[in-house]
């Protein structure tokens, strides 16, 4: 038998140095860092349409990525220099560690604000309210949660949707025959198509996207009975108050500024059409570009969501925005 002690020691030292390294990062705020380096690392999901995804051309685009574009414009004004944006793709399952470790400076995708995540990270104010609902094959007589008794339900691994699905199953609110866990939303949709599952649970927005991409969208139906409501926020490292304030001010700014005031910037994003409606704010215009009624991933804004947006507007940001230093 060989002596494995040195290996074990090496292993423990490895763990220790990882712990030390990760606690050492994060002393310097992102804005200060961007001022020095001129680079910001923005995280982008690869398949979270319409918020952040990779399109046919291979570009990382989406609602949150458009917002990131505008945010960086504003940040350039703030730090007084040109900023290079590094879009870093990441998997949904690893989003908390990559932000906590500082692999990315800000995650702009579609992440639910949850208390455990908030323990290790900070969230911006919510920009979207999503509900966990489910999609079924049309014409099979499933119209509500009660119809799921004895059926097979599914959701994606490492999501809050799966967690809430398992919670309602454990509480006996629905009594499916089996809960199937899939690896990606695309596989979940395939499972629904091939009848491996009868109902696939995830966010309304993501289901709208999946349905839109299907060959025959009319073969599927989204049942708007939710098992869970989730606010989305953009994620930043814990205790970077300067950045968080900046992002929240930015959100207020998009919600209160008329579209027509920023035509130059918005034309770069290709959203001039939306601005023809004179009552639109910047937020409305970007929302309409990705989730408006004419889009494939249309998500009607519910009254609850509209109230939420009105409620988060910070009054009088004029004095601290955007030139405070």
């Amino acid at each position: 038998m060989k002596n494995y002690k040195p290996l074990l020691v090496l292993f423990l030292v490895g763990i220790l140095s990882v712990s030390l390294a990760t606690t050492a990062i994060g002393q310097k705020g992102v804005i200060e860092k961007v001022k020095e380096t001129g680079v910001i690392k923005v995280g982008c999901r690869e398949a979270a349409r319409p918020f952040a995804y990779v399109n046919e051309k291979g570009d990382m685009v989406g609602f949150s990525q458009d917002m990131a574009f505008l945010l960086v414009e504003k940040l350039e004004e703030r730090v007084g220099r040109e900023i290079k944006v590094k879009q870093i793709p990441f998997a949904g399952a690893s989003r908390v560690p990559v932000v906590a470790q500082g692999t990315i400076d800000i995650e702009m995708g579609s992440s639910t604000w949850t208390a455990p995540r908030d323990d290790v990270l900070d969230f911006s104010l919510p920009f979207f309210l999503s509900e966990t609902v489910f999609m079924v094959r049309a014409g099979e007589g499933i119209d509500s949660l009660d119809d799921l008794d004895g059926k097979i339900v599914g959701s994606m691994r490492a999501t809050t949707n799966l967690k809430s699905l398992q919670a309602v199953v454990d509480r006996g609110e629905i009594n499916p025959r089996n809960v199937v866990v899939v690896e990606t939303h695309a596989r979940g949709f395939q499972a629904l198509k091939t009848k491996k599952v009868d109902a696939y649970f995830t966010d309304t927005s993501l289901l709208t996207g999946l349905k839109a991409e299907a060959k025959n969208p009319e073969d599927y139906k989204i049942v708007l009975e939710s098992i869970h409501k989730e606010p989305y926020g953009w994620m930043m490292r814990e205790n970077d108050s300067e950045l968080r304030d900046f992002v929240n001010n930015f959100l207020t700014w998009t919600l209160t500024t008329d579209c027509s005031e920023e035509l130059d910037t918005l034309s770069e994003l290709g959203i001039l059409d939306e601005c023809e409606d004179s009552s639109f704010t910047i937020f409305d215009a970007i929302y309409d570009k990705w989730m408006g009624p004419d889009t494939a991933t249309s998500i009607p804004r519910t009254p609850v969501y509209n109230h939420l947006l009105q409620g988060i507007i910070i009054p009088d940001i004029g004095e601290v925005w955007p030139t405070k230093d």
């Binding site: 038998m1 990760t22 995540r117 323990d119 009848k195 491996k196």
Partner: protein
């Protein structure tokens, strides 16, 4: 501040039980697949050394097919593509991920084991083969009494590697919904957002399995040593 470590999630309920459950599942998954791999691999590896063209061709086809396709793709194939073709009763079976993970892992590893068997059997000196045949043994007897006992011992080191690898590859089963050790540690990560800690626990679990396999195979190797041959005293 950065990330706050909380090593307690590894031992707190219910997470401790999730990890234990995953650990046991990994053990079962690896062991049953290993049984399949060893059995199939022995057959395929042996027929690849037979003096029969057709048998060799079948063996080669099997090996090239399974060895050249990534295991992940194979698992998706077994889990998503095949079951709907077999029938809905099979497609909708409750333990399908389990069955397909064991099967997929087994037939894939068999192709690798078969290659080790083949090279082991081929490295038995030609003289042994000729000596066996000239004493009047049939092909079956030759394999049964001379080539396999001899070649098998040569293969123990590479086979140990495959035995280790099957436990490591079993982590891929999580992609088709089997919550083995990695799957459970990721699940704890989602539930508690302490995935560093839970993944480290998984690392520990795999190390325990790995060391056990090495010690066990070392014991097997020692037990089977023929004095005077292959480094035996």
């Amino acid at each position: 501040m950065g990330y706050q470590f909380d090593w307690g999630v590894i031992v707190r309920e219910p997470y401790w039980h999730w990890l234990l459950n995953g650990f046991i599942k990994t053990l079962i998954l690896g062991s049953i697949s290993w049984g399949i791999a060893l059995f199939l691999g022995l057959i395929i590896g042996t027929i690849r050394t037979l003096p029969l063209k057709l048998a060799r061709a079948i063996g080669k086809t099997y090996v090239e097919f399974f060895r050249n396709i990534p295991l992940l793709v194979q698992l998706f194939f077994w889990y998503y593509v095949i079951p709907p073709m077999v029938g809905q009763w099979f497609n909708r079976m409750q333990n399908l991920p389990w069955i397909m993970a064991i099967f997929g892992l087994g037939v894939y590893t068999a192709s690798r084991v078969a290659e080790h068997f083949r090279s082991g059997l081929n490295s038995v000196p030609k003289g042994q083969r000729h000596a066996g045949l000239s004493t009047g043994l049939t092909n079956f007897q030759l394999y049964r009494h001379v080539i396999i006992p001899y070649g098998f011992r040569l293969m123990i080191p590479p086979i140990t590697t495959e035995f280790l690898t099957i436990f490591k590859n079993s982590a891929l089963a999580m992609t088709i919904g089997v919550l083995e050790l990695s799957g459970q540690s990721y699940k704890i990560g989602t539930w508690t957002f302490h995935s560093f800690e839970s993944i480290t626990a998984a690392v520990g679990g795999y190390l325990i399995i790995g060391f056990t396999v090495i010690v066990f195979m070392g014991w097997v190797e020692k037990k089977l040593k023929i004095p005077g041959l292959l480094g035996g005293e």
